[in-house]
């Protein structure tokens, strides 16, 4: 039983503050700047301290004069801070240096590889959410049903098996044994402007299926388990009991009242996990020889191609910052209590 004092304290009238939204977003962007500067610093430190670009670019036979000239050309004889500022300046202008391995600007290498990774990650994210959320709702509502138990056991497999093993198993079954789907590559792609897409051809779509499932499986099971746990929690709440007492339909209760209340925690985890999808695409792209940024990174790490590595690092950092921002804005959209300073 609630004490009367607590009740009156908790029930204090709150005033709405719509104007808080833009201010909130701006403050979040400002908060992200130091994060990006620090990541930029790490990326730059990779440049400056890991490997010796001069060595790599000169090859095996060179004179000391060549070496000094090259060092000067690359600006490596300047003070550290100057180099860092120059680096940031260049990054802000979209200049990420030149790949040691391929002797081409990193920006154009990334631009070539970005569509493949973006389409794969998007497909994996859609798979994770479109399967994970309904499966979580279902297993939350019918927690004792046979199908729910099957889902839960399968999800354990998804959580515990490593990505590469899942990829290899899928290849074994669907490519080698059944021969339904290709085991590597993107299939036929179509170029639209600077973007090569595999979404417009049958072979492109077919090629997407196994890598997307492999990449999204972990996140799918995680989202499903999270939605299920939240659903069980919410279904015990008073407002769900009251919704039943008002005679609302099961559909309105489960997919309206209950699901919406599970969304806040789900958004947090799902948001971070979608960032994880891009990061984990390295493994999947390697298993399926998917010509994306992850594969580019692996090839670059093998030969110490620092500009590509540091650019990748920066991109992932920016991506996480953007995802976090979107997550915060979704909170605002979902939970009206956040629109006041602090409601509770």
């Amino acid at each position: 039983m609630l004490g009367a004092a607590t009740a009156s304290y908790r029930g204090r009238i709150c005033v709405r503050g719509i104007s808080a939204i833009p201010a909130f977003i701006i403050s979040r962007i400002l908060q992200a700047i130091p994060v990006l500067l620090i990541v930029g610093f790490i990326a730059f430190a990779l440049f400056a301290f890991v490997g010796d670009p001069v060595n790599i670019m000169l090859g095996t036979s060179y004179t000391e004069a060549d070496r000094v000239r090259m060092t000067h050309e690359l600006g490596l004889d300047q003070p550290f801070l100057v180099q860092y500022i120059k680096f940031i300046w260049a990054v802000l202008h979209g200049e990420f240096g030149v790949s040691y391995r391929l002797a081409r600007p990193v920006s154009s290498l990334i631009a070539e590889r970005l569509p493949a990774t973006a389409e794969l990650s998007l497909a994996a994210a859609l798979f994770a959410m479109l399967v994970g959320i309904p499966a979580g709702v279902y297993t939350g509502i019918y927690r004792n049903a046979f199908t729910s138990r099957v889902f839960m056991v399968l999800s354990l497999v998804g959580v515990s098996l490593p990505t590469f093993l899942i990829g290899i198993l899928l290849i074994l079954v669907f490519s080698v044994l059944l021969g339904w789907l290709p085991s590597y590559g993107r299939g036929t792609t179509v170029a639209i402007g600077g973007w090569t897409t595999g979404l417009l051809t049958v072979s492109g779509l077919k090629a997407l299926v196994l890598p997307a499932i492999t990449l999204g499986l972990f996140q799918m099971t995680l989202i499903m388990r999270l939605v299920r746990a939240e659903m069980l929690e919410v279904l015990r709440s008073d407002y769900i009991k009251f919704a039943r007492a008002r005679g609302l339909t099961n559909r309105a209760i489960y997919f309206g009242h209950a699901l919406k209340n599970t969304l806040v925690p789900v958004i947090t985890v799902a948001g971070l996990q979608l960032g994880g999808i891009v990061a984990f695409s390295i493994v999947t792209e390697t298993v399926f020889q998917w010509p994306g940024m992850g594969l580019l990174l692996v090839q670059s790490i093998q030969v110490g191609d620092i500009p590509v590595m540091s650019t990748y690092l920066l991109l992932v950092a920016v991506l996480f910052v953007i995802i976090n921002l979107i997550v915060d804005m979704l909170y605002f959209a979902v939970d009206p209590r956040l629109r006041v300073g602090r409601a509770r």
């Binding site: 039983m1 908790r10 709405r16 009991k241 007492a245 339909t249 209340n261």
Partner: protein
């Protein structure tokens, strides 16, 4: 006059690993159209379970094991879930205890009213919205036209309970089950909320099953009152008779222990001992270990409601031929 709600010998069990707990034992009560029936009793007496069983929302593993519930002469305790859903809200509304947790925090109060009315009354969006505003006016929400788009957290506890009352009544049910509707509220606004409930019930001709700890509320609000003890209704009668001239020894003790009517049963019960837990209900009359008038039969046989002075009481003192009165 035929009863609106008739509960006969309703029994509810909780199967547990160590046997079945009999949480409700042959509970019987009836409510006439438009009548306000109070239900009092200590915590754990089974008041909330009775309400939940009536509207078909017993929580598992709780299960009805006997008796029947009839609404306007039609049995409703064995209806398929979908038919029972149509009765909830439309025929029998509910007001819960804690308005801070009863409303969905993510939906505006208007939306919650609109969806309730549209579910049961098939109104257009416009009509439903207009009626939602009218309901907020009726329950005394200032600035209802704007507040209809506000979220629950923007209302105080008392205002939220007014919204809950609007939600319980908006599909025009014939009966509202209000389970301690003011217990969680600030003492200063409890009377207002009860007065509102009483006024709306009278205006709409709605019957109310009002569970409360507050004997003052019973005295001022109710037509009749039922007293529950250890999962049974042990006395039922007109408010005047039960409060001032009770028949059952437990009710006598209960009334005697309340110095002023404006007091809570729970806190002031000064009868020796405590209500038994469900797994330790004594054989015979459940009250017999505490009863000052206990005699031999009380320890073996369990009494049902029987005519006693001006009320009905479950007490062997009033058995035919009894000489102990």
């Amino acid at each position: 006059m035929s009863a609106l709600l008739d509960v006969q010998d309703l029994s509810v069990d909780f199967p547990t690993r160590r046997g079945r707990l009999h949480a409700l034992d042959r509970v019987s009560l009836s409510i006439q159209p438009g009548e306000i029936l109070g239900v009092v009793g200590e915590s754990g007496a089974g008041k909330s379970l009775t309400g939940a069983a009536i509207i078909g929302l017993l929580e598992p593993p709780g299960v009805i094991v006997g008796g029947q519930v009839s609404l306007e002469g039609r049995r409703i305790d064995k209806l398929p879930p979908e038919q029972m859903r149509r009765i909830r809200g439309r025929q029998i509304g509910a007001v819960f205890q804690d308005p801070l947790t009863t409303l969905n925090p993510l939906y505006t109060v208007g939306r919650q009213l609109v969806e309730t009315m549209q579910t049961h009354l098939g109104l257009s969006d416009r009509d439903a919205k207009a009626r939602a505003v009218q309901w907020l006016v009726d329950v005394g929400i200032p600035g209802a036209a704007e507040r209809v788009d506000a979220y629950p957290h923007e209302f105080s506890g008392g205002m939220r309970q007014r919204v809950v009352i609007a939600l319980a009544l908006c599909a025009e049910p014939k009966l509202v089950i209000a389970d301690e509707p003011t217990t969680a509220l600030d003492v200063s606004i409890q009377a207002q909320v009860i007065a509102l409930l009483r006024r709306l019930a009278r205006e709409h001709g709605t019957a109310v099953l009002l569970v409360t700890h507050d004997m003052g509320v019973i005295a001022e609000t109710c037509d009749r009152v039922a007293v529950m003890y250890a999962g049974r209704v042990i006395e039922v009668g007109s408010v005047a008779a039960v409060v001032h001239r009770p028949s059952h020894p437990y009710t006598e003790g209960l009334m005697a222990s309340i110095p002023a009517l404006r007091a809570r049963v729970d806190r002031l019960a000064q009868i020796d001992g405590a209500m038994p837990r469900l797994n330790a209900i004594p054989p015979g009359c459940a009250y017999n270990p505490r009863c000052p008038k206990v005699f031999e039969r009380c320890r073996h046989d369990r009494p049902n409601l029987m005519p006693a002075k001006e009320t009905q009481a479950a007490c062997w003192l009033y058995a035919e031929g009894a000489v102990h009165g």
